[in-house]
């Protein structure tokens, strides 16, 4: 079955790259531009995995993950953080918010798919 990935990133470049890499790997991709938009998309979509950026306008990645986890329907959906931060403090903040794992930017498409596969049931 084709798996759906929701990507949340304010950068058009990053969205395009994610789409390209994931579609090539056989995923269905839905996208959002920030946390607020991501939650809107989640009203209609049931992604198997969510990939989210941290630094975004309106609602950042931390806020988005927290909101996702607050909703019982998304409690077991893996949420990966896509970040340039390697800072341990940021990582633990993301984890505290409920992130399943992280992908460090810049991502290698093969590794990206691998990480998604790792957390996807």
């Amino acid at each position: 079955m084709i798996k759906t990935v929701l990507t949340v990133d304010d950068s058009r470049t990053m969205r395009d790259m994610l789409r390209l890499s994931l579609v090539e790997a056989g995923f269905r991709v839905v996208q959002a531009e920030d946390g607020v938009h991501g939650l809107e998309v989640l009203r209609d979509e049931t992604p198997d995995v969510i990939v989210t950026d941290i630094n975004m306008p309106r609602m950042d990645g931390f806020g988005f993950i927290e909101a996702v986890r607050r909703d019982a329907a998304w409690r077991s959906t893996p949420v990966l953080v896509l970040t340039t931060e390697v800072d341990a403090e940021k990582k633990s903040r993301a984890k505290a918010a409920g992130a399943t794992g992280w992908i460090v930017k810049p991502f290698d498409p093969v590794k990206l798919v691998d990480v998604i596969r790792r957390v996807a049931a």
Binding site: A99, T100, V104, K105, K111, L112
Partner: protein, 759 residues
Amino acid sequence: MDPMAAIRETFFQECEEQLSELEGGLMRMETGETDQETVNAVFRAVHSIKGGAGAFGLEDLVRFAHVFETTLDQVRAGRLDPSASTMRLMLRASDALADLVRCAREGTMPDEAQTTSLAAALKALTNDGMAEGIGAEDDDDGLGDLNFLPLAVAVEQETMPDAGWVITFRPLAALYANANEAALLLREVGMLGPVSVTVDTSSLPDFGDLDPEGAYLTWTIMLQTDCDEAAIRAAFEFVEDDCDLVISRAADRPAEAGLVQVRPDEDAAGVVADVRVLDGDEAAPASSFADIPSDADVLAIIRKAQESVSAPHDDRPVAVGGGAVAPVAAQSRPEARGGTDGPASRSDSGAAVGATIRVDLDRVDRLIDLVGELVINEAMLSQRVMEAGLARASGVAAALDELEHLTREIQDSVMAIRAQPVRSVFQRMPRLVREVAAMTGKQVRLLTDGEGTEVDKTVIERIADPLTHMIRNAIDHGLEPTEARVAAGKPEEGVVKLTALHRSGRIVIEVADDGAGIDRERVKAKAIEKGLIAPDAQLNDEETDNLIFLPGFSTASTVSDISGRGVGMDVVRRSVQSLGGRISIASRPGAGSTFTLSLPLTLAVLDGMVVSVAGHTLIVPLSAIIETLQPQAATVHTLGMDARVVAMRGRYIPLVDVSVALGYRDAPLDADKSVALLVEGEGGVRAVLIVDAIQGQRQVVIKSLEANYRAVPGIAAATVMGDGRVALILDVDAIVSVTRTERLRGDGLRAEPTLSQAG
């Protein structure tokens, strides 16, 4: 296009947006707007550029962006004070970042010295700004994280035939809370080599005491692999803090007989996992399967675990997370989400932002050309119909009116395609101001207004150069050095104001400074020294100011770095004129100067009054005409030899006979036997133009005379009329500036430079 190349293109476009966001934000911060939102937006801009740059391996860019970002992060965290000097440095850093982006795009080498020194200055800022220092992170040049891969790569080791690992893995509740799953982690480990897994369910409480979000199982994995410990740890990367994990060499650990069996791979499939469920001291094979354990297999393990504690299947088991829970969750979703909004109403919420398409500019230009031809054709048809003697009220004439209407609308719409706000040009100026300010050692503030004023792309592209030069001049020549300002009782910081607005169908751009104004004595002396005017020439203030437009004129006694680039105001003036524009100066000693550019909104069409002059058809731009009149002989007065003025509403306005000015006739017409147009040139200078007759009004398509023939004094451009003949478009400013009746042609210009230059 190769998809990556397309994304790269997107990246650079996005960079442009981020850079202007960055500059705008920094400039707001400079004026004291240091609210969280502005600072965040600035931070994000740099962060975003860094992220994209990393993806394309643009290391120079990443390295610099990282340093910049770190500094901004300090500001964001309130640990670095955004003082004026800090903001100036940040603005220069944003310029450098823009340079790096441009270099990356063009594949050229960046100015390393500049980047390095700015990066050092930024770093120094963070060190100064932080009392405690940031220790090890200081040494991070930002590339460390680039090499960080999400998965540790297994380091090749000498083959150890007996290599085996025993992994004890006890998930904590937090692991499940973040949607990680023991089953998937086991699957991950299973990919490293043949595994044998046992689960210890002894800590499972009675069902009644079971916390659905708790964690009770301990997994023991025997792994047959050549991989090192790091590779195994990598599988647990995301959960290392959320579980108890012990990884040890099988050899180091005495086998617990009866509990664990390691069975090497004998299967062709490669990986064999032998899963046993442990319940107390009774070990029973649960299932055995080839290949990587599938979800079903893992589920089976979990079921077994459940059975062993007699847990009912239909409830959430032992908090083993998604593998078992997923079906339940999937069922619960439709109710949870199906609700209020239909999918259609939502799915496009992201796409609704400004639906645009990108079109090759050549196509738009071609369209504009074609519309131009259509306009000419419509005019021709109209003329033929008139010639055929059809009544004005006939059906044909009415249809023709309609056609004219439509043509006009098509034309407006087509022109609107290319209309753009002048913002794109204005946005380049802050940087220019910073650079020139730094070079001249002056403090300058740039104010802009009317950035949203729209004008045709053809015009936008060509006003950047004249504007650049005017702003450069305003700072270099216009503004006094700081000491002189202070001495004159002015604020240290000079102000350059850049304004755009629409005025009577043209775009007017002003560059104003609050400097010393034009030093007329010096200008005059210079002009005499260069032989541009006679030593005894009597010039009024305006004429004196206009001397600076003369070719070869420069007031700078030494050629400076900024303005000594072989470009004088004469070149600026010429390029403005070639756009169908005018430039004028208003200067007040001690208070500053204002340069005003007036340009057409488009270079393609013009509303004109068709007039005949000595048998020739000419077009007078409608925007210049205030009214038409029939002068009475009594109102016309002669001044001196041949200068004539007409008395109008208590003022005397110079009379210009167009036929004489252009050299069609030698003697002027009698004013009362002709038609007159009251026109206004740049700077509000008025004149009455005498023509033979008025034929009508018409929108004409401008064809450059210069490109097709050569520049003719007094003539701005040409057009093709309805009958297919070429008509000349009058340059009203040139004509108005000739307030006496001398000809524009020939030596007239050179003999009277002050007048001809007074446009």
